[in-house]
Amino acid sequence: MAKVILRRIVLGFIALFVAMLILFSLSRATGDPRYIFIGPEGIGIDPEVWDLMGEKLHLDKPVPVQFAYWVSDMVRGDFGESIALQRPVLQVIKDRLPNTLKLAVASWILGTIIGVPLGVFSATNRGKFLDYLFRGFALLGQSLPIFWVGIVLIFFFAAQLQWLPAGTKGEGGFISFKHLLLPAITLAWYPAASYLRITRTAMLEVLDTEYVKLARAKGVGMYTVWWKHAFRNAIIPPLTLSVFVLFGLVNGTVIVETVFAWPGIGRLAIEALWATDFPLLAGITIIFGALYLLMILMLDLVYAFLDPRIKYS
């Protein structure tokens, strides 16, 4: 067991290293990285700044040495300086991260508490009206473009009904909750749909087993059987999904934060794209990659705790 976990950790570090290599190769892909950093309009840049930049990036040394410098800087927490904002990348990310976490966690919870129970009900009502209704909900969630959902919600609840604000973060307890509502719903629909589908499949499988039928035959109440006997054994697939959902929300936040002008990491990434701010984007990507790696490792541990039958081989 300990050996397996150790192996996972080593593999994880290798993956992170290769990911850094990929990003580094991208920054050097078009020759001089300064052309990407400054963009095609940067032709008229001060030669002094140009040289200073080259010195900072160790461009006078061979490429593998440049990579070694880059990695060692990152390991020490120095992700370089954002070109557009003229501030250390780590600090910029630190400022924006709480907003994104708030939005992501809110929609993660929302997606889970909507998707998982609906999946269970969909399975227990198989073939009936509710099943079709919930599956339709899931189908829409997986087919509608997320930015479009956001815009339609803005149209109805902000422009027409004027119940909720159309964007930005808002300050203060209730006001910020009102601001959070629309983006969180927009972001939560897709994960809710995934949860629903996967929980439904898992539940259907468990409901078909002998011990569930036996429990029913013995006279155990329907709801007890569903929630205590069946659901507890159908929990692994949605649990696995939850880590991927949280990670997938990173993609979603980029879009939702753009739609709702939410001042988080996702919008920062888009701003960085327009400002051709490569170090900032690379920093965001590597930090999220490392966080994701950490979550997968933790998931492995939770598995072993939740389901002792799982043996690592």
Partner: protein, 302 residues
């Protein structure tokens, strides 16, 4: 089958109820994905013959006809069935024009991604060893990078363009194909018929293409179809964010993105392109589900 009316009664000559015909049609439609096929057929036809179907020029702006609503609304004009956008361009024509971009980008990227992924999966699964290690480490590393962010970085590095877009979207699907095909190849490699082929002196190339590929191709096609929806949505999202194909070519995602600030005043400009995206994605998902049930029931779990 779990339906409210037993299948035996449908089409029964003695049953003269008014629901007989519609229900029979319903069951036929359930057996074959007719509506999704129709939507995708329509997409292909509009993509190919779009230039002749557009009522107006999708690119030419006309300031005099800005934000005309759809024809059934007050102030609408039957000349512009779905209304016009902020630059006075016909929304319907732009949706028709966007079909070709969607179809081209999605087909090209899915094909590229799946072919590369399948090839690598076959090679790594069959030969193992160093190639396997190297490719799988790259697949792992690719897996931990947030997809949309890495795509944005690639767009930033290489600039916007059709081929860059196809390339980055192809990269979305290749890792999944590698993993699936590799796992399946590993199990097929030790089957008797492969061993016998080896004993009979067949070359590795022959074994891979004649004996292993037919065993994995169904799964590859099914998962590729199931993944098409995600690719379309990502393409639309990239266009929406302005990182897709550079203007002025219309794409559905860009139409929504360009017009989103006018949603309060002119909802139709961003509403209809979104419907078009959703319909195509939904058809892809339906078709994928159907193909999975039909060709590869082992994948039910996905």
């Amino acid at each position: 089958m779990n339906t409210f009316i037993s299948k035996k009664n449908i089409g029964n000559k003695t049953d003269r109820s008014m629901w007989n015909f519609p229900l029979r049609m319903f069951f036929i439609m359930r057996r074959y994905p007719i509506i999704p096929m129709m939507v995708i057929g329509l997409l292909i036809i509009t993509a190919i013959f779009g230039t002749w179907m557009e009522p107006h020029d999708p690119i030419r702006a006309d300031v005099l006809s800005r934000h005309i609503p759809p024809f059934w609304m007050e102030g609408g004009d039957t000349k512009f069935i779905l209304g016009t956008d902020a630059l006075g361009r016909d929304v319907l024509s732009r949706i028709i024009g966007g079909a070709s971009v969607t179809l081209l980008v999605v087909t090209a990227s899915v094909t590229t991604g799946v072919v590369v992924g399948t090839g690598l999966g076959l090679v790594t699964g069959y030969f193992g060893g160093l190639v396997d290690d190297v490719v799988m480490r790259i697949v792992d590393a690719w897996g931990i990078l947030p997809q949309l962010l890495i795509i944005i970085i690639i767009v930033l590095t290489f600039g916007q363009g059709l081929f860059v877009l196809i390339g980055v979207l192809a990269m979305l699907s290749w890792t999944g194909a590698v993993r699936l095909v590799r796992a399946e190849t590993l199990s097929l490699r030790s089957r008797d018929y492969v061993l016998l082929a080896q004993i009979a002196g067949a070359s590795n190339t022959r074994i891979i293409f004649r004996h292993i590929l037919p065993g994995v191709i169904n799964m590859v096609i099914v998962t590729a179809t199931l993944g098409t929806g995600t690719i379309i949505l990502t393409e639309a999202s990239l266009s929406f964010l302005g990182a897709g194909i550079p203007p002025p070519d219309p794409t559905w995602g860009k139409m929504v993105g360009d017009e989103r600030m006018y949603v309060g005043a002119a909802w139709w400009t961003s509403f209809f392109p979104g419907i078009a995206i959703a319909m195509v994605v939904m058809s892809g998902n339906f078709l994928g589900d159907w193909m999975r049930d039909r060709f590869d029931p082992t994948l039910r779990q996905l």
